[in-house]
């Protein structure tokens, strides 16, 4: 049997590791446009910030491919998927047959439609090559200020890295507040305050309307409010859009992402899609949607991998969540942590001085979301409650307790967690 995986990142590793648990004989080929062996995309900011060496970007040991009998084809892009013929074609002219195909092409960085952005000093921030280019540019030219466009997860991580390099920053966010997809107003305000304390200028309700250049290099921006900023580096950290072009051209059903079932099967026989490019089931919002996070990519990959090997490992669905440190202060957003509305009950606790915030969102006596800033200890217990949709009405008053732990929860649930799956909830 021939397995082909398009993309060589989190989803691919999840798929390979799970597939090989069940099947050691099938041939697996991984095709990646990037020239690198599997590396951690989320660590790019740690790398750019010089917290880690380049070698630590490796997400798996270098013998990963040999150990799992994988044939990597690097620096070659898949240009067509032909579902009828069960073949793929690549830019270098290869035509390869597959029995099962996994599309995990991830996302494309979102770049606003601006004139003249193809100049030195302007970069996106989603690939190792981006980090290397930015690094090179910082080494070559003095940077008195950098502009980070986007105050979401990627923007914050880019800002963290540039701050570690000692570069003064302006962050420009179109929405009324930063991290608006993850945080509520109070949470965003606290994180904005933390950034301000570290001399990051945060401009919300604003955007770049034109790019300035001098001697062929980036030299500044004009903002929507008319303000002009001089800067030598601009990083787009807006986010990614699912990279669905290949799937669309192949005639697969695509909404925002590639539509998949609970086994990650796309709409054509023997084709799977998973990770950032797929629209998989989210158990909190109770529908399929794209969520660009590492844990979901790995897990969806593992589900697809198992199914390609003939094993049903469909699970109960993913949860949108993320953890990020903002100037060293940890922040987490889990599920529907930032929603407001009369259908929700909100338990919250804020201490602006110590920069601690917790917001728990309940719906029909179930936890559906959590935000945590500062003290994040035992946060995963909340995630577990969300995943299990446990009725927490009897322990509601314990949920924000200082000593929150498994003993704050119903006995049966505690015993279930402590003893593994042997005891039913």
């Amino acid at each position: 049997m021939q397995i082909i995986i398009i993309g060589n990142s989190a989803t691919a590793v999840g798929a390979i590791e799970s597939f090989r648990e069940y099947d050691q004989s099938a041939e697996i080929t991984v095709v990646s446009e990037e020239p690198h062996l599997i590396y951690s995309r989320p660590l790019l900011s740690h790398f750019l910030g010089k917290e880690i060496e380049r070698s630590r970007l490796a997400y798996r040991p270098s013998d990963f491919y040999v150990k799992h009998s994988i044939r990597p084809i690097l620096e070659d892009a898949v240009t067509a998927v032909e579902p009828e013929a069960h073949t793929i074609r690549t830019a270098s002219g290869l035509s390869l047959h597959y029995d099962k195909l996994l599309i995990c092409t991830g996302g494309t960085p979102i770049v606003p439609p601006l004139q003249g952005i193809d100049i030195p000093g302007i970069y996106t921030f989603t690939k190792l090559q981006d980090a290397l280019s930015i690094e090179r540019y910082i080494d070559d030219y003095p940077i008195s200020r950098a502009v980070v466009v986007g105050g979401g997860m990627i923007g914050i991580k880019a800002a963290n890295a540039l701050m570690k390099r000692g570069i003064p920053l302006t962050m420009v966010e179109l929405a009324p507040r930063i991290l608006s997809a993850a945080m509520d107003e109070a949470g965003s305000a606290m994180l904005t305050q933390i950034l301000a304390e570290h001399s990051v200028q945060v401009l919300t309700n604003n955007t770049v309307t034109s790019i300035h250049q001098s001697e062929g290099r980036f030299s500044g921006v004009t903002l929507r409010d008319g303000r002009e900023l001089g800067a030598e580096l601009l990083v787009f950290g807006i986010g990614v859009r699912p990279r669905v072009e290949l799937a669309k051209a192949a005639g697969l059903v695509v909404n925002k992402g590639i539509v998949v079932d609970k086994f990650m099967r796309a709409s054509a026989p023997d084709i799977y899609a998973a990770g950032d490019v797929a629209e998989a089931y989210d158990l909190v919002v109770d529908m399929n949607r794209t969520v660009a996070i590492w844990p979901n990519a790995y897990r969806q990959g593992a589900i697809a991998g198992a199914h390609m090997a003939g094993v049903d490992r469909a699970d109960i669905g993913g949860i949108a969540m993320n953890a990020v440190e903002v100037c060293g202060v940890p922040a987490m957003s889990i599920g529907n942590g930032n929603v407001t509305g009369s259908e929700y009950e909100v338990l919250s606790e804020i201490d602006e001085r110590s920069q601690n915030y917790k917001r728990l969102v309940l719906q029909n006596d179930r936890l559906v979301g959590a935000l945590l800033i500062g003290n994040i200890s035992r946060a995963g217990i909340y995630t577990g409650l969300i995943r299990h949709k446990l009725d927490v009405s009897s322990v509601r008053k314990n949920l924000l307790s200082e000593h929150f732990g498994l003993l704050s929860l119903p006995d049966q649930y505690r015993k279930h967690v402590v003893s593994g799956s042997s005891i039913e909830i």
């Binding site: 969540m321 995963g380 217990i381 402590v418 593994g420």
Partner: protein, 152 residues
Amino acid sequence: MKKKRIVIHEEYCIGCRLCEVHCLVQHSKSRDIVKAFKEERSSTMARVMVEESGPVSFALQCRQCSESNCLEACISGAMHRDPETGAVVCDESKCVGCWMCIMVCPAGAIRQNLTGTHIASKCDLCYGSAMPACVLNCPNEALTYEEVEVRD
């Protein structure tokens, strides 16, 4: 497949916290109980924690889930399964302290180690030693080390 795992018996736990003491010692540089507490207290921590509420108490460490959320969520590749024991172990030289694992551990058994470092701290079954320190030093057999069936 059968593997050795730590089993928790809350009915025997009296909350003495000897498990925490000996876990800390085991993970200290000197492995000397006096030195660990007098000199290394700020650079080492226990990976087992006692939860207590009224008469109920129990010692909790990583449950070594078979489909581990922390393994899937780890962005650095630090979390891995030890090929021999099947235990989920954090490679501290790879961990960057992003706290994704803390966000997803349903038992809340992973903690931030901020003692001069910035990494996730969790039970490693004392790296496959015959008997983890917490079990060895529990006076009541509130923790036992037993062969259990795990998915391989």
